[in-house]
Symmetry: C2
Subunit: 349 residues, 2 copies
């Protein structure tokens, strides 16, 4: 099947033949770009997320430099937490901090059931503004954090290496833990619907920390609510991508997941991911998976790895392949390296 | 085959039937024990590693409390770096810091080819003293970091989230990177030999960060030198355990590795690890893999998970199974939880 009139990313996500190989980069709008740093020097990160004009501007910046097939709205997976009653700040070099960590039934009861349009409408406005700046063959991607990953920040009050408070709540107060995930799931569904209504052509769900649980705990406590959000997102009529985080362990658990695309971390070979997903019955498009750290390498090394990945994807006979990095771009990424990636990819036959 | 006269851990590692289920815990000597904190309140961490008396004392502490099958010598994988010319300190809460990070050929040339006996003999002395305090059925485990994991600290000058300098060296100066791994491998072989000579009955190689590379880079740059160290360690006549870090991705690459035991992180199901290892032709004993964070759970939950793992290991028909956590114990581990684990394990039929 093929439909050359579809946007390339949408065609690939749907398992149709795209008019060209789609490519975009997680965190393609960000600190590695001087034009982004120029905007950020004037506003705080959270303020930038809240300004439709500025968010649209930085979202479009990488598309002016590079021949990309998608824009992903500039925001943060913790933005919805602010609409539930937590305050989001960023410590210098320390990552996100959320006030009022959720560690008890009382903490949970104080959270608000956010209204996506009223409380998070600025993200929709940013999507609409961005979309007006896209070519018709470029895909506007909306996104959210998956319930467990968002919950892990809400419980810890920020990032964590050991997820101590998350596990404490999960094992000691499983009902509170489940209630929190349910609340996040409801808010996330509304939030994604609002993004599609505002113009998102595709959605992505980031479950960066899904891999921190045992397979059994993920399957019991996390997968059902995650499936619900993904199933709902697909009823919105757009393809949905799930990023299960580092490692392929989670892929063993995904039997029965109805999703369009799985985004593969660079620490997993596409071949391994594809093998396991097929074993559990998932025939999906894969996204990935260049090592974002590779982009410091000399030009020839970068170009070779791009060819390696494209060749691997072709040999695997994937349902579809969206080229991307296996995790977000880093602040020290040399901007010219992305030019080599795209150039090599466009030349690949 | 069975040999009830062998120490249980050695029998399990060799694929023989042990007289009882062997169990120990990574980082079983450590901050969660008040008697450890009492010792540490008087000496710095590095000083503790360098004192055979104190290192033996804290190594033996958990064996006085718990019915364990092994002691692992109290030390740190970065101790050999001090013998190569770096200074090791521990920032409060920030983890290890190594002076003189290795980022060029000149940095590499300044490192010393440590003499294990002369420069690291205190670890051997600590092993000998510890062993004198063990029952004959208890195994004395010696250990080292695997070359890549040690190199990653030596290059970064400490821990890292993104391994930026490691990748920079690997991709920009592959010969320096390889030279560093070769030097570490040589020192590590001597270091392990010295530990066996001092009384270690088994050896473990920690490759905590092996999973941070792509499968292709791991296979090209890391696996050959790692295989060399493991092969050498096995010529010392003791069983060798390899811990490839988080995730099972690395297990796809281990074809041809001759090792006795693979230690499995808790984020991987024993079933998945066993399946992949068999697919690549490795029939080995598995060690693991209780989630160390689970130990904050109520007693019944802890006991149930212990039974789950023992049952899973039995159903898999593993060559052997050494019960352990899937990663080191954490400072907030409640000491009584280990009593429940061991009690449940001893009662399991």
């Amino acid at each position: 099947m093929s439909d050359l009139s579809l946007k390339p990313l949408i065609a690939a996500a749907r398992g149709l033949t795209p008019s060209r190989q789609p490519v975009w980069f997680m965190r393609q709008a960000g600190r590695y770009l001087p034009e982004y740093r120029a905007v950020r020097s004037k506003v705080e990160f959270v303020e930038l997320c809240r300004s439709p004009e500025l968010a649209a501007e930085v979202t479009l910046q990488p598309l002016r430099r590079y021949d990309l097939d998608a824009a992903i709205i500039f925001s943060d997976i913790l933005v919805p937490c602010t609409a539930m009653g937590q305050t989001l700040t960023f410590d210098k070099g320390e990552g996100p901090v959320l006030s009022h960590p959720v560690r008890s039934a009382a903490d949970l009861s104080r959270l608000k059931r956010a209204d996506a349009v009223r409380d998070l409408g600025y993200v929709g406005d940013a999507i609409a503004k961005t979309k007006a700046g896209l070519r018709s063959d470029q895909t506007m991607i909306g996104f959210a954090g998956a319930p467990f990953t968002v919950a892990s920040y809400m419980i810890e009050g920020g990032g964590s290496k050991t997820f101590t408070e998350v596990k404490r709540l999960l094992f000691k107060e499983p009902a509170v833990f489940a209630g929190l995930l349910d609340l996040i799931a409801e808010v996330t569904c509304d939030y994604l619907a609002m993004q599609v209504k505002s113009g998102a052509d595709a959605l992505m769900l980031f479950d960066t920390w899904a891999g921190q649980l045992t397979g059994a705990d993920y399957r019991s406590f996390v997968l059902p609510v995650t499936k619900r959000v993904i199933a709902y997102a697909r009823t919105l009529g757009v393809p949905v991508t799930y990023f299960p985080g580092q490692g392929i362990d989670r892929m063993f658990e995904l039997a029965g997941l109805e999703v369009d695309v799985i985004s593969v971390d660079w620490r997993t070979r596409l071949a391994s991911a594809s093998k396991i997903l097929r074993e559990v019955g998932l025939e999906v498009t894969l996204q990935g998976n260049l090592d974002p750290q590779l982009l410091v390498a000399p030009e020839q090394v970068v170009r070779q790895r791009v060819r390696d990945i494209l060749l691997e994807a072709r040999q695997l006979g994937l349902k579809g392949h969206i080229f991307n990095v296996g995790h977000g771009l880093l602040p020290h990424t040399p901007p010219e390296s992305l030019t080599w990636v795209i150039d090599e990819l466009r030349a690949f036959r």
